[in-house]
Subunit: 348 residues, 2 copies
DNA sequence: ATGAAAGCGCTAACAC
DNA sequence: GTGTTAGCGCTTTCAT
């Protein structure tokens, strides 16, 4: 279909148009909307609102931002918005922001720290009220230093920085209890009779995953089980990464494995795909457990045992801090809980 | 951890700071960055760039937008960003926009047309370069009229409007071949020996789904099979909606059903969940097919038969139009293709 | 090629 | 309570 009314491009109606139409000064018009500060006479206010409605006026938010010197935007940095964990996080954050009068702007970092750095500069230029870094951090000291410096500047100019699940940056943090959840999971699995584990650990550079591996190991240790280092397999922190890692595993390694724990659900599902590809049945031959309890799991059979992380609570906590919280508040850690499903039945 | 360097909030460095530091006028500094228009002496340019780097200057994008009178933002309206279809779309659009020098801003409409209306006004205030409406349209004539008027204003002020898979709005459209794909699917299933169908049609108000139902019906008709109206079940256009609809189905209805076709994969998966809950095995007792080929399917067993839609191509097409295309270009329709998987085996 | 000055749309002192 | 006047940070004529 053709565009209607194309051709004559018209200048958008501005506040001064409205003011003129209502027969008041621009400042009065402005005050009629923002309400706050000096109150404006009810009759005039109505005239202004009416004129605005008639002209279909809508305020230019960019201009408002420039004039006010601050925005109402939260920049949310995620690795990959097509990933179920991050898209749920974005959804929760948006819903929460909405009711706090804030907008969230999602930015994808593609799991590359250079890109992250680039993106943070951009965000600094947008003068977001806050920047939330979700997803794991990296162990690259040099780049992390630069990133930190960049984030410091955000704070210096009045912005807020909140990190989610990443221990590499010294800013306000909101976290899931990764170590605790993993520990409980390890203990639960040991209780179910599991002894021979293989851990898909993600990238050693990613901080949050370390906590999960360490916690899991601690949970096993609680049950008197030791997890050797060679049972901890690094891989890319993604479905594909886990799948590839499992495909590369030697037959002997898998033969000695009764349960695969992947540090997140996406990876666990990638592992399941690869295991099935190699002829293993889940859970008859090999059991699998993950972490996060992503929405995808509702469609997966057998149900994947995992550790549930309260994403909505996290979003509420993060947005709450940004909206009302005091800037340097100490970090908070949200409780996680083990969810046992059919992918890890009791043995014998 | 405490915030570092908190306390002394400092004014962000501006272009005039850079200009002063470089000993040039603000206009020269500006030109040193934007490069275009009048060229600036190479030596001076270097001085400016150096000063900027030293001061850690980053341009205020809001101010740029106000001064230039246009932004570089594409507003993408989706029903629900946690939905696999929309999050994939967002990811594809962002990737595509990136390489075209544009940003995409995702906005969630929650499948409510009033909210959609509200959101479009907001976007109009942000002076986005384009607004892309993904997700199905509604048959509410009154609100659609208002929405259309709002979108007309976007165009009048130089913005671009592109709709994806919704026939209710007379703007530039980019679509998947919904009818064609569904028709092929119907024909393929008939060829596999299926005769007794049940269609989960989503909401009758949603336009795109109608095409899928109609196409499916046409495909069956090609094979001499008639699909009665009472075999087409409306439901909310979501996983939960389909699940609930299937749960409410009478035993007799299901007894007369050999295959359930849902107009998208999310719904198909919701149906699978409900069917299993009622004791049906998939596909031994009832087969299921969906539409979209969302990423989630890689983890679903048995594999779900569906119609693949080329999301990356769609994103490229949409962004291409916005970046280089002529405004009133005719709509385009992208080919879809049937993907037969284990959820619909050949009968006997 | 560079600088001075006007203006983008809006808010916020500051006077009246 | 209302209008006048400066800005906000940047781009872009218009002179030079």
């Amino acid at each position: 279909m053709p565009q209607p009314s194309s051709g004559d491009r018209v200048r958008p109606v501005t506040l001064s148009d409205v003011a003129r139409a209502a027969g008041v000064s621009q400042s009065t018009a402005s005050r009629a909307f923002n309400g706050s500060a000096r109150r404006v006479d009810e009759a005039l206010k109505q005239r202004v609102l009416e004129a605005a409605a008639r002209l279909n006026y809508v305020p230019n938010t960019q201009a408002q931002a420039v004039a006010r010197g601050r925005t109402t935007t939260i920049a949310l940095l995620v690795s990959d918005i097509a990933d179920a964990y991050f898209s749920s996080m974005a959804a929760a954050m948006m819903a929460e922001a909405e009711s706090a009068g804030l907008r969230v702007s999602v930015i994808v970092t593609e799991r590359r720290i250079e890109r992250e750095l680039e993106v943070v500069r951009e965000v600094r230029g947008q003068h977001a009220r806050a920047i939330v870094l979700a997803g794991s951090g990296y162990r690259d000291a040099a780049l992390t230093g630069t990133l930190r410096a960049e984030l410091d500047m955000v704070i210096e100019s009045g912005g807020r920085v909140v990190t989610v699940s990443r221990g590499d940056l010294p800013f306000e943090s909101v976290d899931f209890d990764n170590a605790g959840g993993a520990r409980q999971l390890g203990a639960s699995l040991a209780r179910l009779g599991y002894r021979d584990f293989l851990v898909l650990a993600g990238e050693p550079e990613l901080v949050a995953t370390q906590d999960r591996v360490a916690g899991f190991r601690a949970g096993l240790a609680d049950a008197g089980i030791e997890l050797d280092d060679d049972r901890v397999i690094p891989s890319a922190f993604s479905w594909e990464g886990a799948r590839d890692a499992v495909q590369r595993l030697g037959d002997d390694v898998l033969a000695g494995t009764r349960l695969v724990f992947a540090v997140n659900d996406e990876m666990a599902l990638g592992a399941v795909a690869a295991l099935r590809g190699r002829g293993f049945r889940i859970p008859e031959d090999i059991s699998v457990a993950g972490f996060d309890d992503i929405r995808t799991l509702r469609d997966v059979v057998p149900g994947l045992t995992t550790v549930h992380v309260p994403i909505a609570d996290l979003a509420a906590e993060v947005v709450g801090r940004i909206a009302h919280g005091v800037p340097g508040a100490p970090g908070s850690i949200l409780p996680t809980s083990v969810v046992l499903r059919d992918s890890t039945p009791r043995l014998n």
